[in-house]
Symmetry: C2
Subunit: 172 residues, 2 copies
């Protein structure tokens, strides 16, 4: 059964990198998944939502809704999106039948070191919004299916563990 694999974690933790690698692994197995990257989705909508708590919630929920429908219709969906609050992650879990949550994390020093967009120095800059995890809240996942600490583990090793978890869930 197709499912939704959601990479949550702070900015620059490595969500998009891992999601893209996972997509390739699916394709290597002859399965074409839909990849939804948070930044790209915001572009499709022409940046109609900002970075307030309520706007972030609305943004995650519309991605979750599309992902659920795709999975129900047989398309595995891989999402790279911070989904920062318990409230929104609970929504994803509630509406999605087969759901795999991957929590991607790294030390704050590592996040700052990777930060090409300058998100971690432009705090409270209205152009980029507040950076969650520094000046806003990020609810650390209580029970993720997979935790990837990108300080400690290579992408190859992490993807292997995620693939194994996909098999357990019946996704692969």
């Amino acid at each position: 059964m197709a499912g939704v694999i959601w990479f949550t974690g702070l900015s620059c933790a490595g969500k998009t990198t891992l999601a893209t690698r996972l997509k390739e692994e699916f394709e290597n197995r002859g399965i074409i998944p839909q990849l939804l990257d948070g930044d790209e989705v915001r572009e499709i909508f022409g940046g109609d939502l900002g970075y307030s708590r309520s706007d972030r919630i609305m943004n995650v929920k519309r991605i979750a809704f599309a992902s659920m429908l795709l999975a129900e219709n047989g398309t595995n969906t891989i999402v790279a999106n911070i989904a920062p609050f318990y409230e929104v992650r609970d929504f994803i879990r509630r509406i999605t039948r087969t759901y795999l949550q991957v929590y991607v994390t790294a030390s704050l020093d590592t996040l700052k070191g990777r930060d090409k967009k300058g998100l971690y120095v432009k705090l409270r800059n209205p152009d980029v919004g507040d950076v969650i995890g520094l000046d806003d809240e990020y609810d650390v996942p209580r029970n993720p299916d997979v935790i990837v600490d990108t300080d400690q583990e290579t992408a190859v090793g992490a993807i292997e563990r995620i693939i194994k978890c996909c098999r357990t869930k019946g996704i692969l």
Copy 2:
């Protein structure tokens, strides 16, 4: 190629009835489409959006986003949703590759006669929101692919014409 067939029109015009019949016609041809009914989508989201103009826009856009992704992944999607403004219907058209717009209409007397929910008498009741077309705006489609006047035409005849249009668009 899979597409999005969107039934727009005022409350009680016959959108859900026609969309459900079209779904059955697809199924008779061995194709399983996704049906998205505006009221049911609101339930999935727990009624998080109201009936202000901006909330209606947000609601239509998230349905459009999911529909586009479904079609891109090979699932024909049939939507029954008022989508009242040019702005939102332009958004649907912009993001969707294969799109068929069906404008469902009837006389105001007919709409009132069919109105089991009492939408047309509960004007400005906060529980149901304003009824678009009576006390709010509904932008009459400028260039729909199919117009169905449910005062004049049976569902059977309308569905035949819609199926024909689906074929022209390469959907069937």
